[in-house]
């Protein structure tokens, strides 16, 4: 618990967290204003889809930076050495640090989106189940990218390294992964479509989007062709859960194995 409190006290003094919240609040208000002339019944779903499409542009990079600098700060201030001397176990330190960073980041974001729901009620007919699906998709993205940021912070020895790794990870998931898959798309057959599907859903952005759109009832999987049925060999929710568990676990393990205890200026 004291890790969470410590993390909160450190972050409220800094600009990063507030800047991030500011961007989230501004974008959501802006999109609500832009969507205000949509119909009362369908406008809610349109808003959620547009909001998701907007936040995927900055949530990953923000989470990567916040996660990375949360760990790197401990190295810079030499508090990491002190904590490890006391506990001598990077695994438990990283676990508690991860929980603290996730709590500090997610708590206010979730609070904001619950308040946002109240504002939405003045404009559209809300659907609570759909909104919870939206929050769950966002939650998964926050968790995954923050944990990846913690990995980057653990393995980096300087700020420049953090920036480099962060940009590389963001670029990979945002552009490169799908670009590679597009290049292999014409080679997809019934034999290898499941493998292709697994590769497709490794991208948390695609997994979260598919889950959201199917939960909203917007994306329909009725009358699937045989190829698409083979492609969707699990439900979108299960794909997202598997993706989250795999990436969280992998990031954690890699951070434990390859971490560096000290950083440089």
């Amino acid at each position: 618990m004291h890790y969470i409190w410590k993390e909160w006290k450190e972050n409220i003094k800094g600009k990063g967290l507030w800047l991030s919240f500011g961007i989230i609040v501004l974008v959501s208000i802006g999109l609500l204003y832009k969507s205000s002339n949509l119909s009362f019944d369908q406008g809610f779903y349109v808003l959620l889809i547009n909001l998701f499409d907007a936040v995927i542009y900055f949530i990953p990079i923000i989470c990567l930076f916040l996660g990375a600098f949360a760990i790197f700060q401990e190295k810079e201030q030499k508090t990491l050495i002190m904590l490890l001397t006391r506990r001598d176990d990077y695994k438990s330190f990283l676990l508690q640090k991860s929980i603290a960073v996730h709590s500090v980041l997610l708590g206010p974001v979730l609070l904001w989106f619950f308040a946002y729901l109240i504002i939405i009620k003045f404009f559209f007919q809300p659907d609570l189940k759909a909104y919870l699906a939206f929050l769950l998709s966002l939650l998964c993205l926050f968790l995954i990218y923050t944990q990846l940021g913690l990995l980057i912070g653990s393995i980096s020895r300087s700020r420049m390294q953090i920036v480099g790794f962060t940009v590389a990870v963001w670029f990979y998931f945002f552009f490169l992964h799908d670009f590679i898959l597009l290049s292999f798309l014409s080679d997809v057959t019934y034999e290898n479509v499941k493998g292709f599907s697994a590769a497709y859903f490794i991208n948390p952005l695609q997994a979260a989007r598919m889950f959201l759109e199917s939960s909203l009832g917007v994306y329909s999987f009725d009358h699937m062709s045989k190829l698409l049925q083979s492609f969707m060999w699990m439900k979108p929710g299960l794909f997202l859960m598997a993706n989250a568990v795999l990436l969280l676990f992998t990031s954690y393990i890699l951070a434990v194995i390859f971490h560096r205890k000290e950083g440089t200026e």
Binding site: F175, D178, L185, L205, Q206, S220, D222, L228
Partner: protein, 448 residues
């Protein structure tokens, strides 16, 4: 003795005054049979057992809570006389039998000039079925099926078969197999209906000269599929959120002489999907935020696109299967508005761009060969893929609009936003950066 007499007297009274929850089928049918031609039957606020056959011209008017419940062996209400009116009631529990030669419905109409108004229908195979029935009016019906995705176990909300000159107005259909199904039905008017959560909101074939206005098709697998038909007019309809894999707002397949005017195609997988269609006029429509705005197969000829707003689609238009012949993207010097992604100069301010707008894409090959391509349309990687192929000249021209429309003047809101942002930046500099500014420009807080 006296007690026995009293009991004998009381017994009929008890029987008469016992509350009844419904009339037996025989009673309602008897009521109909006993009513004269041209008569009106006012039903009570209760459940009547079906099935009933109306074989004379009468009006049946219900109240809130009037239900006619079928026995699941056939049509709940069969109308076999003309000029019948059915109003203000709920009809439920038709046969769901798929193996019978007849397709059953909650209300099946075999005659002409009937009116069905304000009827709620549920638990049915077909909702309202017009079978060689002409000049009928169906209004304010609320037809609720078993749910989207249930195809084999149920039929269509409104099924129009070999029936002409009917009016379907202000009806709401949801969760049926198809919302409205037209087969060999001509000259009908379909106005202000709302169809949602079906397979095809409109499934339409071999039917000519029908008019669709003000209808809304949302959350269907396909908004409207118009096939093998001529002379269709679609005006002011909305096709929104028809968004499944390979879904579409409007499909034209082997349709000719179709007029599509002032409709909205918004957030569909494909706004318009045109295959083997000829002589279509697509005019003054809004095709916005679809994955593919217009998917045009080369088998289609003489399509005319003019005065449409085609913007914020992932792919504005794609031509597949080769280049179609005689498709035009402008008419009499007026093309389409392609949005901010196609900036166009208009130096003479006549509202028409000074250069043509064209769009090259390499995705057409992937879309033709591999249906999984649609899964990537929302990915930012698409733009990189297109750029890479452009560099290696692997792309092809999808369309060329010789006279693109230009919209003059930015939005007032956008200008205000820029002004506010500039003001915020200046305020931040003054509050936080004054000291730095002073150092840079020499005063450093001193009075000199």
């Amino acid at each position: 003795m006296k007690k026995r007499m009293l009991l004998l007297l009381l017994l009929p009274l008890i029987v008469i005054t016992l509350p009844k929850h419904s009339y037996a089928a025989g009673n309602l049918q008897s009521l109909i049979d006993g009513t004269k031609e041209g008569g009106v039957i006012h039903l009570e606020n209760k459940t009547y057992e079906g099935n009933i056959v109306i074989d004379k011209t009468i009006d049946i008017i219900g109240k809130k809570g009037t239900v006619i419940k079928g026995d699941r062996t056939g049509n709940v209400i069969s109308i076999r006389a003309p000029h019948v009116t059915i109003k203000n009631l709920t009809v439920t529990h038709s046969s769901l039998n798929r193996n019978s030669p007849e397709e059953f419905a909650a209300i099946k109409v075999y005659t002409d000039y009937n009116v069905i108004d304000s009827v709620a229908i549920n638990h049915f195979f077909h909702g309202i079925y017009l079978s060689q029935a002409h000049h009928n009016t169906i209004t304010n019906a609320h037809i609720t099926g078993q749910g989207k995705g249930i195809i084999a176990k149920q039929g269509n909300g409104l099924h129009i078969y070999y029936s002409n000159d009917n009016t379907l107005k202000n009806n709401m259909v949801e969760g049926t197999r198809d919302g409205m199904f037209f087969d060999y039905a001509n000259g009908n008017q379909i106005i202000n209906n709302q169809i949602s959560e079906t397979r095809y909101g409109l499934h339409y074939m071999y039917s000519d000269n029908n008019y669709f206005e003000g209808n809304t098709f949302t959350f269907n697998t396909g908004g409207a599929a118009i096939m093998h038909s001529r002379g269709i007019q679609l005006e002011n309809n909305e096709f929104i959120f028809n968004y499944g894999h390979k879904s579409f707002g409007l499909l034209l397949l082997s349709a000719s002489d179709t007029l599509i005017e002032e409709n909205t195609f918004f957030l569909n997988q494909r706004g318009l999907y045109i295959d083997q269609a000829t002589d279509t006029i697509i005019k003054n429509n809004r095709i916005l935020k679809n994955q593919i705005g217009i998917e045009l197969w080369a088998s289609s000829n003489n399509q005319l696109f003019t005065l449409n707003e085609i913007e914020e689609n992932t792919i504005p238009a794609v031509t597949l299967g080769g280049q179609g012949s005689s498709n035009q993207w402008s008419d009499q010097g007026k093309g389409n508005y392609w949005g901010k992604t196609f900036p166009v100069l208009d130096l003479n301010q006549d509202g028409i761009g000074d250069q043509p707008v064209s769009y090259q894409s390499s995705l057409y090959e992937l879309i033709e060969d591999q249906e999984l391509t649609y899964l990537f349309l929302k990915s930012p990687a698409i733009s990189i893929y297109e750029k890479m192929n452009q560099m290696f000249n692997h792309d092809k021209t999808m369309f060329k609009d010789p006279s693109p429309i230009v919209k003059n003047g930015g939005s007032h809101a956008r200008k205000m936003l820029f002004v506010l942002a500039a003001a915020a930046i200046i305020a931040i500099i003054f509050i936080k950066g004054r000291h730095q500014l002073c150092i840079i420009f020499g005063r450093n807080g001193r009075k000199t």
